[in-house]
Structures are given as structure tokens and as C-alpha cells.
């Protein structure tokens, strides 16, 4: 009953936090693999990104069930769930991007910009992890969220140029063009969803003050 809650001294909560931390770390790893895979044009490494997404899915389901088994106040649970779902969406996007990459021949004129975006995606994921850890400590999140916004803005700027450069490329087959377009779209949307995730962290932080 309630006595269990008092005597467990937050054991359930700490376990849950460990799982969410693991999920975000996995995201950073996946982004790192992705960047290296584009840099070195390594399809098998890109495949690994998709495998990581599957592992992340399992973790997500475990997290959700732990939340509703009684970790944290009911008041916090919907926001925590939302955050975890958003992180999972990032994985899905990353997997789509990887899938598209494997299906196309990336034009060389776009490669360096794509690598730049992939690098920034990795950085923004690391920042999300830092923000999550700060939230747990109850620290002010403003600076970290601003850092995430800065990264997102940078990626947005590169996206603008990427699309402009992509338009100069001659497309002979509709599907080649379609897959390239989807690849670029997914690649540059990852940071938007991460920014979303950071907003959810701010909500959780404020609701417990």
C-alpha cells in the first residue's frame, strides 16, 4: 500500500530515470553512428542505426509500463510519457533517414552539408541528455534549452542551403528525386522534434516547482 511507497524511497523512480537516460544515450549513439556512416559512406553502419531504433522501441515500452505501474506522481505521468514518446519519434525519424540513405546515391555536392547536419544532430542529442539530467537535479533549464534552439536554428540555416543546392541537381527518375527529398526532409526535421522534446522537459520541470 502506501507504506511501500514510503519505504521504497524512490526506487521505482530511480529505475525509471535510469531507463529514460539509457534511451537518450542510445539516441546520441545512433546519431553518432549516422554521422560516421555518411562520412565514410558505410551502409552496414547505417544499418546499425536501424537496429538501435528497434532496441529503443523495446526500452520505450518498458518505460511506459513502469510509469503506469506506479513510478512518480500521477500528476507527472502524462508529461513523462509524452516526453518518452517524443524521443521515440526522433528514433523513428532517424531510422527513416537511414533507410532513405541506403536507398539512394547521395550527390557529392550535398554530402558535406549533410555531414554537417548529422554532426549537429549528434550535438543536439547530447544537449538533450544534459537538459534531462539538469531537470532531474531541479536546475534551471533556460540556458540548455537556448543551446538546443541555437543548434536547431543552425540546422535550419543549413537546410535552406541544402534545398537550394539540391534543386540544382538534375533528377532523371521521379523516385530518385522523391527519396532524396524525403531523406533531406527527415534529416533536417530531427532537430525540430528534439526541440519539442526539450519543451516537454521544461513543462515537467515547471510543474514540479
Amino acid at each position: 500500500m502506501f507504506l511501500e511507497k514510503i519505504f521504497s524511497k524512490g526506487k521505482k523512480e530511480n529505475q525509471l530515470i535510469g531507463h529514460i537516460t539509457k534511451q537518450i544515450r542510445l539516441l546520441c549513439t545512433a546519431c553518432g553512428f549516422f554521422k560516421t556512416a555518411i562520412e565514410t559512406d558505410n551502409p552496414s553502419l547505417m544499418q546499425q542505426v536501424m537496429n538501435i531504433e528497434r532496441a529503443a522501441d523495446i526500452i520505450r515500452r518498458d518505460i511506459i509500463s513502469r510509469i503506469y505501474e506506479g513510478a512518480f506522481l500521477p500528476y507527472l505521468r502524462p508529461d513523462l510519457c509524452k516526453f518518452v514518446e517524443v524521443v521515440d519519434n526522433i528514433f523513428d525519424l532517424l531510422e527513416d533517414t537511414a533507410c532513405n540513405y541506403l536507398d539512394l546515391e547521395l550527390p557529392e555536392q550535398l554530402r558535406s552539408e549533410c555531414i554537417q547536419v548529422a554532426f549537429l544532430n549528434r550535438r543536439i542529442c547530447e544537449m538533450l541528455l544534459i537538459t534531462f539530467e539538469s531537470m532531474l537535479k531541479g536546475e534551471d533549464l533556460r540556458e540548455k534549452i537556448l543551446a538546443i534552439r541555437i543548434y536547431e536554428k543552425k540546422i535550419d540555416d543549413i537546410k535552406f542551403d541544402l534545398i537550394r543546392d539540391a534543386r540544382k541537381i538534375e533528377i532523371t527518375n521521379f523516385w530518385d528525386g522523391e527519396i532524396l527529398s524525403q531523406f533531406l526532409s527527415c534529416l533536417t526535421s530531427i532537430s525540430d522534434v528534439i526541440e519539442d522534446a526539450s519543451d516537454h522537459l521544461q513543462v515537467i520541470h515547471l510543474s514540479m516547482k
Partner: protein, 317 residues
Amino acid sequence: MWKIISGIFLGWSLGANDSANIFGTGVTTGIVKYRTAILLTAIFVLIGSIIEGPKCMRIVGDLSRLVPIEAFLCALAAAITMTILTYFAIPASTSQAIIGAIIGAGILSGSTDFSKLIKIVACWILTPIGGIIFGYLLYHGLKFIFDKTIQSLTYRNTIYTVGILVAGCYGAYSLGANNVANVTGIYVGSGLLSCQMAAFIGGLSIASGTLTYGKKVMITVGKGIAPLDPFTALVTVLAGALTLHLFTQIGVPVSSSQAVVGAVVGVGIVGGLRTVNPKMLVKIAVGWLMTPFAAGLMTILFIYFISCFNELVKSPI
């Protein structure tokens, strides 16, 4: 001894209605389960009644000189008044009902001590004010302390969970200590029961009301005054409990619902006075006026009928 039945009925209805005030916010924010809330309330109400219940009994007993049958009728009138007003969803306070009934009986017998009545009415008015003050002060005070000392998410989570449970138990204790006088204090005044016995029986009747009917009322009432977050829930419960306990020390039984309403308003003031609903205040004021008058009137009618009946029985046809 059968005369204490009306008091037991009154206690049962008090337990059923007022336990929602204590744990209502904790239950509707999901921090405490209904079963846990009801069980804890029943236990701590009984403890509060036994330990500090006698403190408020004196003023109830001293208000009017009553004979046992009058005590029975007062409690009955109060209980019926409460039932009717609750049915019409007018906020009714047991304290006001029983006091109104006692005054009614006292008017008939001419034994009312009006100086005590003034003290009681003053405390009624001060109850929501006390709630407001405690609510406001606790909100700022606890917020300051928590922000300085408890920053980690999991630690705060634990503090809120444990805090609401502890505050709720304290609230139940205060309810028992303060309100048991409403239920059985009248029998001490008329000599039917000793203070301790009255406290014990009264406490049991309130606890039984909580256990049997408390859940239903908790669902409806709790949702109406549910604050938005765990911290506010904790503060309102604690402020209500402190207010009740304060008036217990003063020796006057007051309304627990008004204490909690005051606490909610006090916390609401923190966010600006927009959160105070004028319609709700009007409804409360109406309840304040109607309850004692209705109970008093009913008591007068009962006593009158009984005395007429007695006359009829005495004089052979």
C-alpha cells in the same frame, strides 16, 4: 440510552460528508487511493476525537441547559437539516446545524447563554479567514523552504507523496478533535454521557460514516475543489488541518469545509484574486444563514410537538 441514536446518525453523516474535505484533493490528484484515504481518515478521526475531542464539548454543553430528550431532538433536527440541505446541494455545516438546534431548544426553555453564542459565531466567521491566512502563509513558506532544500525531482516527488499522507492524517485528527463535539457534545451537556464516552462514541460514528459513505462524496466534492498540482494540494490540506486544530485549542467546533474553502482561497490569492468565485461565496453565505435557522426552527417544532404529546398522554381523555 436510545437517545444517543440521533447523535450517532449525525456523526455518521458528518463522517460521510466531511472526510472528503480532508483527503479530497489528495485523492483526485491521484496521490492517495480512496481505500487508503478512507481508512486513514477513520483511524485518525477516532484518535483525534479521543485525545482532544473533549476540548470543544464544554462550549456545546454550556450553550443551553438541556434535558436528555431535548438533546435527542436537537441532534435529530440537526441531522435532518443536514440531510435536506445536502440533498439540495447547499453547503451545510454540522457545527451550525447543531448550534442552531441547541439555540432553538434554549429559546423554548429560556436557558441560552448568548455570550457563548457570540463567541461561537465569531469563530465561524474567522474559520475561512483562518484558512485563507494559513493557506497563503504556508504556500509561500513551504515554497521557499522546498526551493532552497529540495530540488531533485525524485526527492520532491517523495516529499509530496509522503506530505499529503501526513497532512491528511493530521487533517483527520483535527476533524475528529474539533467536530466530535458537534456530534455528541450535546449529551455531555444534558448529562447522558461522560466526556470521554461521548468522544469515543462520537469518534466511532464519524469514522463509520467515513468508511461507509465517504468514498461517494469524496468523488464529487473532491473534484470540485481539486487544485491543480501536488504542492497546492499539500498546502490546502495542511492549512485546513491547522485551522481546525487552532479552533480546537480555542474550544469552539467549526466547519471543516469552510476551513478548506478558506485554504483554497488563500492559495488562490497567491495567483491573484481572479480565482475566487463570487457565486461560490454567495452560496456559502446562504448556507451560513439557512443552516442554524432551519435546525433551530425544526428543533422548536419537535420539542413543541413532544410536549403537546406528553400533555395529551398525561391528561386522560
